[in-house]
């Protein structure tokens, strides 16, 4: 296990006041909040910052953490000294900080134990009234699919990791496999509702629902904007000048013949109507022309470019008046 320097995480000095710690936390929480920051490591950073704040904002936890001394460095191998927290009394058993619940690091848990985990994962609130019937909690998960699955529909077996409370009150992660049919036409950011696949109900309330938020694996060829799909199509200078017919792959896995008219310019957007993500009103596939110029390496190639130059009186910089 690695030591975590919570002061370093928040970027404050060990002697920082509560107000300093709070404002440093707030600033970083806004910066790394996963709804605001789309960088890959944002969620991870947001959790780290939340964990650091949970310790440092709490006088008791901070005092206990401080008495381990200031010689530890972040990332150093760490085992809590025996009885390290002897004489400290924690008024709450668990994790009280900002951030998503149930995501404390091993380091945090070794010091402060596992928090009281709220039912149903992050953001869940559980109702405790025993005499009532309640529908089970709705659960949420994110899954990544391929663009082609949105075109053709797909059947996927997905593994979900669910934190659950065991009889002794400890949080364990259970893996659950679901065989899900991905409907044709689903788009990134949309949610698929699987009725009755959420948490169990109470009394005569039925089970909750499971919502799967869909996102696409990054695709090296296509860009997706809602139901429209974009493809950059590189063409040689003679192809755009003289016109040609090229084969264009579609995300559905088919191939289309596309006619490039003579004197096509770079950046021209050709719309293939209805070839975007299918739905009642299907999206479009846009093919954007790019001109790829081959390097002149051999003498023959250099001569070809020179002949090219001679044949045109072409100044691409007339508008610069240079």
């Amino acid at each position: 296990m690695k030591f975590k320097d919570y002061y370093e995480t928040l970027g404050v000095a060990r002697g920082a006041t509560e107000a300093d710690i709070k404002s440093a936390y707030r600033k970083l929480a806004r910066k790394y909040h996963p709804d605001v920051n789309k960088e890959k490591d944002a969620e991870e950073r947001f959790k780290e910052v939340g964990e650091a704040y949970a310790v440092l904002k709490d006088t008791e936890k901070r005092a206990a953490y401080d008495q381990m001394g200031s010689n530890w460095k972040s990332g150093q191998d760490f085992t809590p000294p025996p009885n390290w927290n002897e004489g400290f009394e924690f008024s709450d058993g668990g994790f009280g900080g900002g951030g998503y619940e149930g995501d404390q690091s091993e380091f945090f848990e070794s010091l402060f134990g596992r928090g009281k985990h709220r039912q149903g994962g992050r953001g869940g609130h559980s109702r405790q009234d025993q005499s009532m019937h309640f529908k089970g909690q709705d659960h949420h998960a994110k899954i990544l699919i391929d663009l082609v699955d949105a075109y053709n529909g797909a059947k996927r077996t997905i593994a979900l990791h669910m934190p659950t409370l065991d009889i002794s009150g400890h949080v364990t992660t259970q893996e659950r496999k679901l065989d899900v049919s991905i409907p044709k036409g689903i788009k990134a950011g949309q949610n698929l509702r699987l009725s009755g696949q959420g948490g169990p109900g109470m009394g005569e309330g039925g089970a909750g629902d499971l919502y799967l938020e869909i996102d696409f694996h990054p695709n090296p060829i296509y860009r997706v904007d809602g139901k429209d799909v974009y493809l950059d199509l590189p063409l040689a200078p003679w192809e755009v000048a003289l016109g040609t017919t090229v084969k264009v792959p579609t995300p559905a896995g088919t191939t289309l013949e596309l006619t490039i008219p003579a004197n096509t310019i770079a950046g021209r957007k050709m719309r293939l109507k209805g070839k975007g993500i299918p739905s009642k009103e299907p999206g479009d596939l846009y093919v954007v022309t790019i001109i790829a110029t081959p390097p002149a390496d051999t003498d023959t190639q250099k001569e070809a470019y020179q002949a090219f130059e001679k044949a045109f009186e072409f100044n691409p910089r007339t508008h610069l008046k240079g």
């Binding site: 707030r26 929480a29 806004r30 909040h33 996963p34 709804d35 605001v36 789309k38 947001f46 939340g50 900002g98 951030g99 149903g120 953001g123 869940g124 609130h125 529908k135 909690q137 709705d138 949420h140 059947k155 077996t157 679901l178 065989d179 899900v180 049919s181 409907p183 036409g185 689903i186 788009k187 950011g189 949309q190 949610n191 698929l192 509702r193 699987l194 009725s195 696949q197 909750g208 629902d209 919502y211 799967l212 938020e213 860009r223 997706v224 904007d225 809602g226 429209d228 974009y230 950059d232 950046g267 739905s279 846009y286 954007v288 790019i290």
Partner: protein, 108 residues
Amino acid sequence: MTQTNITWIEGAIVENEIHMSIVELSQAASTSEELIMAWVTEGVLSPTGSSPQDWRFGGDSLSRTKTAVRLSRDLEINTPGLALALQLLDQISDLRAQLVRIGNSSKG
């Protein structure tokens, strides 16, 4: 290889097919009906229907409400602040979509 019959679970695309009542939305986004009402008043959510009992939230409301729940909880922002944050996030997402349309030339 043994052949097993798998029952594939069919789901409904929330954004296309589902309209939620305030009760369903509060259950699905794990938040209170009171907060949802406050967000409707602020214009964060725009259901159809004239009174909370008749409100029907379009499918897009679910992810918007989930974002609202997370932002207001994690950053302790009040309702007007939340409305502004969501409006700015919408603008950013429009700009990102523009970048997608422009493609390589934007990456330099």
